[in-house]
């Protein structure tokens, strides 16, 4: 089934190359939410770059046979070719601060054998709330419930640890 071929090592290779080339980027949107355990559904992987002029992006693209397609209004910039068409470029995130400020709180998730920075679930929720499009509103409940679930699990684990420490 073709579905099994989604996000193979070929797509992971692009992320690996971005990390290897020290590109400042993070995964955002619903792909970032699913990586943290939210049962969301998505069609692509949104990448937020600090600056699209980072030379490492071109090097990473070349390595996996992809290329950069500059923006032509109203179409935003895109990646093409190779195994990079699954990735979308995000220029700004509604309701969030600058990339440099947000990346400080990014969580690192192992992906394709390398740690990849991912926007935390609470910030994804903040951004979806601010964007306020129909599709954002539809996914909010799932994201919020997932966050409450994760927080409850963390609280249980923390309580367990505290109890064990007592003599």
């Amino acid at each position: 089934m073709a579905g099994h071929l989604i996000f193979t090592d070929k797509e992971a290779a692009f992320l690996r190359e971005l990390v290897k080339n020290n590109v400042d980027f993070m995964i955002v949107g619903l792909a970032a939410a699913t990586l943290q355990g939210a049962p969301a559904v998505t069609q692509d992987i949104d990448l937020w770059f600090k600056d699209l002029r980072q030379p490492g992006i071109k090097r990473a693209l070349k390595k996996v046979g992809g290329f950069y397609i500059p923006p032509i209004q109203p179409r935003p910039p895109m990646f093409g070719g190779g195994h990079v068409e699954l990735f979308d470029i995000v220029m700004t995130m509604d309701g969030l601060q600058s990339f440099s400020k947000e990346v400080r709180h990014a969580v690192e998730v192992p992906l394709g054998g390398v740690p990849v920075k991912v926007l935390p679930l609470d910030r994804i929720i903040a951004s979806k709330k601010a964007a306020g499009r129909d599709k954002d509103r539809r996914s909010l409940k799932v994201l919020q419930d997932a966050q409450k679930t994760i927080e409850a699990l963390e609280k249980t684990r923390a309580n367990g640890k505290t109890r064990r420490r007592r003599p």
């Binding site: 996000f7 969301a40 409850a152 699990l153």
Partner: protein, 122 residues
């Protein structure tokens, strides 16, 4: 996959049993036990052949149904505990989150993309 008599004896010892006690309690005859121990593989040839073809180990295609039942029951308990403190959350969202948290991040992403592309969701 063979039976390990040493491991069986060690486990029995840990439980304060001899091999004889163990076989008696398990309802396994000595003949049946030694026949199993002598076998090159306790798994049917067909399972080994399927695993070999898939280039995986037989344990990767076998499911311990009792263990799986225990896992599901533990997960359901967690869902109830989370709902008790967060009554407004959707039980399905909690259950699916717990299911995903049991998987590797890469697999979580693969599932989300697969569903997104299959159902043409936004």
């Amino acid at each position: 996959m063979e039976l390990s008599p040493d491991m069986i004896k060690r486990c029995a010892k840990r439980k304060g049993m001899t091999l004889k006690d163990l076989l008696l309690q398990a309802g396994v005859s000595r003949t049946a036990y030694y026949s199993l121990v002598r076998k090159e593989s306790v798994l049917p040839k067909s399972i080994r052949a399927i695993a070999r073809t898939l280039e995986v180990t037989p344990t990767q295609i076998l499911v311990d149904t009792e263990e799986e039942a225990r896992r599901i029951s533990a997960r359901n308990e967690k869902v109830h505990a989370i709902l008790a403190v967060n009554p407004a959350v959707d039980p399905d969202n909690v259950r699916h989150t717990l299911l995903l948290l049991d998987q590797e991040p890469e697999e979580r992403l693969r599932r989300a993309l697969l569903r997104g592309r299959t159902f043409d969701f936004h």
